[in-house]
Amino acid sequence: MKPYRLEVMLCAGTGCVSCGAFKVKEAFEKEIKKKGLENEVRIVPTGCNGFCERGPLVLVAPEQIFYCSLKPDNIPHLVEEHFLKGRPVKNLMWTPPKEKTPIPIISDIPFYKHQMLLALRNRGIIDPEKIDDYIARDGYSALAKVLTTMKPDEVIKTITASGLRGRGGGGFPAGVKWESARKAAAERNEKPYVVCNADEGDPGAYMDRSIIESDPHAVLEGMIIGSYAMGATDGYVYIRKEYPLAMDRLIIAIAQAREYGLLGKNILGTNHSFDIEIHRGAGAFVCGESTALMASLEGKAGLPRAKYIHTVEYGLWNKPTCLNNVETWANIPLIMNRGVEWFTSIGTGDVSKNPWGGSKGTKVFSLTGKVNNTGLVEVPMGITLREIIFNIGGGIKKDKKFKAVQTGGPSGGVLPEKLLDLPVDFDTLTENGSMMGSGGMIVADENTCMVDMAKFFIDFLKDESCGKCIPCREGLRGTYDTLDRICKGLGKEEDLQTLQDLSKVMIDCCLCALGNSAPNPVLSTLQYFMDEYKTHIIDKKCPAGVCTALFEMWIDPVKCTGCMVCLRKCPVNAITGEKKIVHVIDKVTCTKCGVCYDLCKFDAINKQ
């Protein structure tokens, strides 16, 4: 391969692409050509780099200089100064809030410094559409090692000993699952299926999408190793249709792997044969649940079934089926290459005797909500919530006060400030009323109403409930109606008991994990923010100023300077007044949209 002097690693993940990454790429190409640098500088599109808040992003190698929030207009200057004259451009680098000196090198930026990349090991380093790039980073070497030097049961023993637990949310030890599938297949003399769950439906979560977009071959290699361990010849990736870029890259990766003979008959010249097909999901949240996913794969409606018969025994087309999440599969090659001892040195607990004994390795989170640095982060298990939110996330937007963090997606729970020092692992989060889930992490600040937040998630789950079992279908509707009443100021004290009762029935009686875990947002907010519920119900007030029926907006005549800003921007013309004369909100016309509240520089607008 021809050497280049500089490589421009341009983030081409969905986030940056929607911010205009391809326009920036065009500008780079044009400018590099203009300056005659085509033979010295190469542009490499990569998968998501993680710092989505500041896209489009570019990392310039080998110096590892990081540029963010790029616009096509910036490019001519950047190419001339940095690429030609070797003077990195400071005003395009990341500058910490409230500071003046930019940080040029990526590894010095706090957002990146505290992360540990295993599943995302190749993000920003390889071109996800080039299999050779993956191979250069030791890709498929784990597969070669497994196929030539290990027996299938040795592979399973290694995965069990590593303590790798399912990253899709359940936290079930991967090795135990593989062992059961292999055993069930051997007993009945059948071929098991290997399936990858890429039906990521949590609002605000995009871990799996990013892994596939930045390193699709890692997932494929993991699945091929799994197929060898379990004796499977057919596999599926169930991916949602809403992920067009991830799907394109997966299709390219599968085609390249087939061309190299890494999928298909006699992989790498050995006796093992395995191939993978892509199944496009239609975007139903419930299809992330194992039995519903398999029903959908079979061409039926995506409805779950009771799981007293496990899918590892009777899964897809009633054959033994091993379903693992994208991130789980992406971890497999690394464990096979670097060994159990290395993997178990990261994380919490002791898994040497019991695979449930701890949480090993890393977890990818999508950090969103009212936090300064939203984006995709991979951190070692056992890191505290505080480290993720404040060191990596850079704290709360606009210096507001932290109120709570919702982990585990819509059916996860809310954790308050006093639990910020909790270590993040499967068991600790569950013990405290939340869960790891697939890795969504939504941060709420003082202006977030917890009743409203619970209502939001229940609303989502109510719509996504498949309706097969009554506790979930009716339980969620009842829970939603109760929460909605409370938010409208019609709540009664007995509603608190109703919420608890409905939750208990759903936990005990629902068919699948969607319903079982759905009460989490309600129960955790009841547990940690009971005061806020009571203020809504008894005092008929919303302290955060979110539930519009429970507060009035008025202008403090002492603080108002009569600057006319709110008056001009009010969408319903509810504010009257003149220049330098105190403004007044007409309560009948006012829709409480909050535009004036956000705009006022003098803190004169009150929500009470």
Partner: protein
């Protein structure tokens, strides 16, 4: 592309590795810094970059990082380069031509022998 065997993985890796080493930022044994101020470019430093790149390509060198930086202050001696070999003080060469650059690459970067004819200075500038 035909189906690959296990030993082909290493070959593909070898072929692609230099690009990936560049991306991960090293480690590099040698850092060649071509001074590309307006004076350097006017005196022909673009040709010097080309000469070094073609040598890296020809020799298949994987541990050399080629970068550019601004004017080094001695504009009359441009084109200039500063070469830092690991564990040695940096050496500045001046009044280069592509042929001289190639000789420096062979003798100093690969051979470790200082090319005395074009040396301007050794060591760092004094720091305040």
């Amino acid at each position: 592309m035909p189906k690959i065997k296990i030993e082909d993985l290493a070959k593909i890796k070898e072929k692609t590795l230099d690009a990936v080493t560049l991306r991960t930022g090293g480690p590099f044994r040698v850092k060649i810094n071509v001074h590309m101020g307006t004076c350097g470019i006017a005196a022909g430093s673009r040709g010097i970059v080309d000469a070094f790149l073609s040598m890296i390509d020809k020799k298949g060198t994987k541990d050399v990082m080629l970068t550019t930086s601004g004017c080094a202050g001695l504009c009359s001696k441009e084109p200039m380069v500063t070469i830092e070999v690991e564990g040695r003080p940096p050496v500045k060469y001046g009044e280069l031509t592509p042929d001289r650059a190639k000789k420096i690459f062979e003798d100093y970067v690969l051979g470790g022998k200082i090319v005395k004819d074009f040396v301007i200075a050794m060591g760092h500038e004094r720091e305040a």
